[in-house]
């Protein structure tokens, strides 16, 4: 049996309206209480071919955010991350970065964009003056080129030039020891591949002047078939091969080169091999591939690094990537800079970040520094070693010498007209 409704406003409706009115009146106070949180925006790539890297960036950031929030937040303000997918499109990255600041009220940006997307976000940071930390773009020019310099942007990422100097020195040592004079290169045909390869060859020849490049191949980015490239290299009969292939391209290349037993015929130096995204995906990982470290939990061989890698794996059921440690480091820098000035004001935090050295599990000596003159990361763990097919994959990594890296980087900057 139902009760017939009476016309007009009854008691229940009146109470409901009063409740709604009270809620509306209280909303400003609720909003003010929420404003205690600090929103940090993060455009990154969560779809497409590099989605795994973008997701691993987000995961790493969230691990650090939980730690910072548990310890009281940034200057007493709990962090709320607003993370959006740019789909790897620079115009979307720019649009999202603007939206995060202008509409969502984010006070800082963690830029998880690669390549062109990072330059697009950099221009947004230049335009609206928001504090921005780039965490994924390895392009040296992003911070080395003085035209790019703005006081509110920083880069917490490894750099191609650092890898090339460390790699050139390591490879020259092997070349001298084993008499490797004829070299070939095989790198992706775009700016990163060509720049990194040219820089590697420069420093290889710097340390081992009698080295000769007898073959160069430039497969297209995301190329599915490497048969032609592999056979061309085999025909040239080099003693050693350098490759800047990465991710799925590198694993496809190794799987296909394995068919031709390439890795038994020459020494292979693949700068991007020692990353779990590649190490765990290759079907038969050959023994003895030389690689620079991307992220492995055994280098630097410290309890802090191992614990961080294990905690990440326990939470997300997979190992972190190179992008993960960079994003985690950015959050550590933010936390320390805010502590230093006891404020979340972007300008003050930027001043504190400039030249800041912090303790970090990914530092070569347990610390990393945000270099003052170009706002870029130095002192991170950098090294080369050889692979084995099972964990820990790269058991003995030789550390790069940061004094040497910095000295040669300074010369490189001069040669490019950056200083």
């Amino acid at each position: 049996m139902t009760t017939p409704s009476k016309p007009g406003i009854n008691r229940r409706t009146t109470l409901a309206l009063m409740g709604a009115g009270a809620f509306t009146a209280a909303t400003p106070w609720v909003a003010r209480a929420q404003a205690k949180t600090i929103k940090i925006g993060m455009p990154t790539i969560l779809s497409g071919r590099v989605a795994q890297l973008g997701t691993s960036s987000r995961n790493a950031v969230m691990i650090e955010v939980e730690k910072i929030n548990a310890a009281g937040g940034l200057a007493g303000r709990q962090i709320e991350m607003v993370i959006r997918d740019s789909k790897g499109q620079p115009q979307e990255a720019a649009r999202i970065a603007r939206e995060l600041v202008n509409t969502d009220g984010c006070e800082m940006l963690i830029d998880g964009e690669a390549s062109s997307g990072s330059f697009a976000v950099h221009e947004v940071a230049r335009d609206i003056g928001v504090l921005c930390i780039h965490t994924c773009s390895e392009a040296s020019s992003l911070t080395a080129d003085p035209k790019q310099h703005i006081p509110n942007a920083f880069r917490c990422v490894r750099q191609g030039i650092h890898d090339s100097i460390a790699g050139g020195n390591y490879a020259a040592g092997i070349a001298k020891a084993k008499g490797l004079k004829k070299w070939a290169t095989c790198s992706p045909d775009y700016a990163y591949g060509r720049d990194t390869t040219a820089e590697f060859v420069t420093y290889l020849k710097h340390f081992a002047p009698d080295v000769e490049i007898i073959s160069e191949t430039w497969p297209k980015l995301f190329q599915p078939d490497y048969t032609e490239t592999v056979t061309k290299i085999l025909q040239a009969k080099p003693q050693a091969l350098y490759s800047a292939l990465w991710g799925g391209d590198l694993t496809s290349y190794i799987d296909q080169a394995n068919i031709y037993a390439m890795f038994t015929q020459m020494e292979v130096f693949a700068v991007n091999m020692a990353d779990y995204t590649a190490l765990t995906v290759v079907k038969n990982l050959p023994k003895g591939i030389h690689s620079g470290n991307r992220y492995i939990k055994t280098f630097p061989a410290t309890a802090e690094n191992a614990a961080w890698g294990d905690a990440y794996k326990a939470k997300y059921k997979e190992y972190p990537t190179n992008w993960s440690w960079q994003n985690a480091t950015a959050m550590m820098f933010l936390s320390e800079a805010v502590k230093k000035v006891n404020s979340t004001d972007g300008k003050k935090v930027a001043e504190a970040l400039t030249g800041l050295t912090i303790k970090c599990p990914f530092g070569a000596d347990g610390t990393v520094t945000m270099r003052a003159d170009d706002h870029t990361l130095i002192g991170y763990a950098i090294g080369w070693g050889t692979t084995i097919p099972t964990e820990p994959y790269v058991p003995d990594v030789q550390s790069g010498d940061w004094k040497q890296i910095l000295a040669l980087e300074a010369e490189w900057k001069k040669s490019k007209g950056y200083t």
Binding site: P90, Q91, E92, R98, T103, S116, E123, Y192, R194
Partner: protein
């Protein structure tokens, strides 16, 4: 079913042509539209709104220019994005390296795009249907590869770095976001007005005839190749204006602007908005950008949402939104006429 749709659209078009509006009517609408756009930021405080309108201007001009080819001439170009990219890179490079004023850079960029369109169009417009579509796509990929490879000039995959200078001209300072907004609105309205005049001119009706029956068109003395090449060049110029607006918005130019996905988005916008009405692509642009901005805010499964929307338009409406609305209004008008008679 398709015959019925074709007949309906023919009826619509003929009804449209039976009552030609005076030329100043379009100018009046353009002035009113511009006035509304300029007052929008005063009515709504959201800072995202000007950004949205600027992006609408860039993609709207691009998609409407594509419709000059697809909807009016029956030339389905898969490579129209190359002119969007050329516009962005041409303007960006001129501003960064040539030290010229913004109006000079815009004019030079449009000239560069026109010359490129003449060369590419001269080869492509002879081809029919799928061959035309794929050769335009091939040219787009060629231009994209050149942008990636010519690193000293274009910056390769990292794009034009260091921002685009915006010196003040005629009292307009494009580094001021309000000025940029009004400037973009002006380019949009002027661009649409000019394209509308092209579509409604005798040349526009020649294009429709070529679309419907190119053999007949050539038999009555129309140089089909020349007409197709002319509209190809005109569409390229307007697409370049879209690229210029986008390069100003992001203060750079990136190889993605010349990639095939931009052309794909143009085709998709036309599918969404419809190709038988002049404003269909503009409506499609607004729909796509709203969809994009909303979906990326709410979900990471943007592709899934977009796929469902494509299915809805392709299998549900079986035409663009504006086509659907126009057909519906037409059928209502006819049924009401039938009742009165």
């Amino acid at each position: 079913m398709s015959e019925v749709r074709a007949e309906t659209s023919v009826v619509t078009r003929s009804a449209d042509s039976a009552r030609p509006r005076p030329w100043y009517f379009d100018i009046l609408i353009a002035i009113v539209a511009f006035a509304i756009l300029v007052t929008l930021p005063m009515l709504f405080t959201s800072k995202a709104l000007p950004d949205f309108v600027i992006r609408c201007a860039a993609f709207g001009l691009f998609a409407t220019s594509l419709n000059l080819l697809v909807g009016y001439t029956g030339m389905i170009s898969f490579g129209h994005g190359m002119f969007f990219g050329l516009g962005a890179y041409g303007f960006g490079l001129l501003m960064q390296r040539a030290d010229v004023s913004i109006p000079t850079a815009i004019v030079c960029t449009l000239l560069i795009s026109a010359v490129a369109a003449v060369v590419i169009g001269a080869i492509c417009v002879r081809l029919k249907e799928i061959y035309f579509a794929f050769v335009t796509l091939a040219f787009q990929m060629l231009i994209h590869s050149v942008i990636l490879s010519w690193q000293p000039l274009t910056g390769g995959d990292q794009g034009l770095r260091g921002g685009i200078k915006r010196p003040v001209f005629w009292g307009i300072d494009l580094s001021n976001h309000t000025h940029l907004y009004i400037f973009s609105c002006a380019l949009l309205v002027i661009g649409l007005l000019l394209m509308r005049q092209i579509a409604q001119s005798p040349f526009g009706y020649t294009l429709r005839m070529i679309r419907d029956n190119p053999v007949r068109a050539s038999f009555i003395g129309i140089n089909v190749w020349r007409a197709k090449l002319t509209v190809f060049v005109l569409a390229a110029i307007f697409a370049s204006v879209g690229g210029i607006i986008m390069s100003l918005f992001v203060s750079g130019a990136y190889p993605e602007f010349a990639y095939w996905t931009i052309s794909g988005e143009g085709i998709f916008i036309n599918m969404l908005g419809g190709v038988t009405t002049f404003l269909g692509p503009m409506v499609g642009t607004v729909l796509l950008l709203i969809l994009n901005d909303t979906a990326t805010r709410l979900t990471e499964h943007y592709g899934l949402v977009l796929g469902v929307v494509i299915l809805f338009f392709a299998l549900g409406l079986r035409k663009g939104l504006m086509d659907f609305v126009v057909d519906w209004l037409q059928s209502r008008r006819e049924s009401s006429k039938g009742r009165h008679s």
